[in-house]
């Protein structure tokens, strides 16, 4: 390490970071202030005493706890689906020789580029026809196999030597057994990246869950909070910010823990460009 002391650049960045995180500080500060009102002056921004009243209220009254459970359930299923189905597809493509593999890969990559907005109406109409609007199915099925995950895992499977699979085959293991017992464990690093990224994207997702649901029964957190903010009564900002903080905590914690994996998933995906 060349820098023994903290460099001036680091000090500058630290000061700017305080400014950068100011809006999130506002969120936190307002949520622990207690009571519904806002800030009267700048000095009020720093809470003099911390109250958990907003948190207690939002978790016990109204549909917020339900939103939280809905988000947890939906995201768990979507992550599980992606781990299994995306690696199955990635494996099949990686172990297919020649032109068919190239065609499939092309389809996977072009799906990654399709903008989400174009799915709003067709997906709504399709799920309406299947009587799935406002059900968990609508929030899970369309997101079970993300093309990006197929592509990401595919790159990883390619680097796994085939010898161990062939050895397993000689020992009499079928394809499914070879996949679950031999291949799957070797994919672990790629699957960690896939899981964390899929969790982040779907926990935060708003656009499609917003149009595919219309009751508190199945609404997820971001959608529920947005609806709450537009209720008929004047908005209780303290309550809303407590909910927002609770919605943000899981992703911030996940990021703190899995930072390196997330960055890897992002930048390795970018290399293809």
């Amino acid at each position: 390490m060349r820098h023994k002391r903290v460099s001036p650049v680091a000090i500058l960045l630290a000061v700017l970071l305080v400014v950068d995180l100011f809006p999130l500080f506002v969120m936190l500060s307002l949520s622990v202030k207690g009571g519904g009102g806002g800030f009267g002056s700048l000095a009020d921004l720093v809470p003099r005493h911390v109250s958990a009243a907003n948190y207690a209220e939002i978790l016990s009254k109204g549909p917020f706890a339900r939103y939280f459970l809905n988000s947890t359930l939906v995201v768990t299923l979507v992550v599980a689906g992606n781990i299994l189905f995306a690696s199955m597809a990635a494996y099949a493509v990686a172990r297919t020789p020649g032109r068919p593999a190239a065609v499939m890969l092309f389809l996977v990559v072009s799906t990654m580029m399709v903008p989400k907005h174009i799915m709003m109406i067709p997906l709504f109409s399709l799920l309406l026809g299947m009587r799935m609007i406002d059900t968990y199915y609508a929030l899970v099925l369309p997101f079970l196999v993300d093309a990006f995950n197929v592509f990401f895992i595919y790159q990883f499977v390619k680097s796994v030597p085939r010898e161990i699979e062939e050895a397993a085959a000689i020992d009499g293991a079928g394809v499914w057994k070879t996949f679950t017992r031999v291949v799957f464990p070797t994919l672990k690093p790629a699957l960690v990246v896939t899981s964390v990224n899929t969790f982040l994207i779907n926990w935060n997702s708003f656009l499609l869950p917003f149009v595919l649901t219309n009751s508190d029964r199945v609404r997820t957190l971001p959608v529920g909070l947005a609806i709450f903010s537009q209720g008929e009564h004047s908005v209780d900002w303290g309550l809303l910010m407590a909910g927002s903080t609770l919605a943000a905590i899981p992703t911030v914690v996940a990021f703190a823990i899995f930072q390196r994996h997330i960055v890897r998933g992002m930048t390795e995906g970018a290399v293809r460009g």
Partner: protein
Amino acid sequence: MMTTRERLIFLLPWALSFALFSAYPILFSLGTSFTQYNPFRGGLTGWAGLDNYRQVFSDPLFWKSLKNTVLFVVGTVPPTAVLSLGLALLLDRAGRLKGLLRTGYFIPSVVSLAVISLVFKYVYAKQGPLNLLAGLFGSAGREWLLDPRYALASIMVMDIWESLGYYAIFYLAALQTVPRELYDAAKVDGAGPRDLFRSVTLPWIRPVVVFVVVVNTIRAFQVFVEVVIMTRGGPLGSTQTLVYYMYEKAFLYVKIGQASVVAFVVFVLIMLFALVQIGMLRRLRASTG
């Protein structure tokens, strides 16, 4: 070796998902833009020819949405590309605290855009923190989101703030791959810091610049979440964007044909812009060597 049948079984979940949730929606949007269609009443009730297109293109609100969307793209994509590169260059020189600072700057990007939009709705409120800060400088405070002059710009500033740390990560990763020898060789030739950046760093990370600009353009064209949560297109249509216009056409007025026209127009615009940007930046590379 897998048999063909085994291969198909392994591919089945992805293939179903691709057909139903990717291929079908694009074809549906294109097809429905030429029809009269109402999923609640009778489904497909006939062909419309170019009627939907005529109606959309003669609606002043559509053109206003297009204008606002282009403003949003032009007002967020270049500033984000430049500022996040600046942030990455600083982070690259931050020494021991680099990891910690990088984490800090990334935090806004892991929080849901819906939550960010709610927080900023408060930050921008009449009695909100931004006006309290402005009061320090003697400003009377503004209705940031309720004034047609400031609403779109306020959302744009929030968007840049939200994505800064995200795109800086890509630059930072690229900066760390620049071979030290290139810098050393240029220094021997007497290059100053500015020359080093122009003739070594920038050419080396140019593919990442393309990536950041293209990805952010695709995202910016679809701006919706902020609008639906913060302004609902108002005040006076000043934050009406294309995807929000499409949403209202489909889910408020149930004009699915017209909404599909908008969906397709946005799709084509995104593809065109992405191709032009990739082409322009390629040519730039060819001309600067």
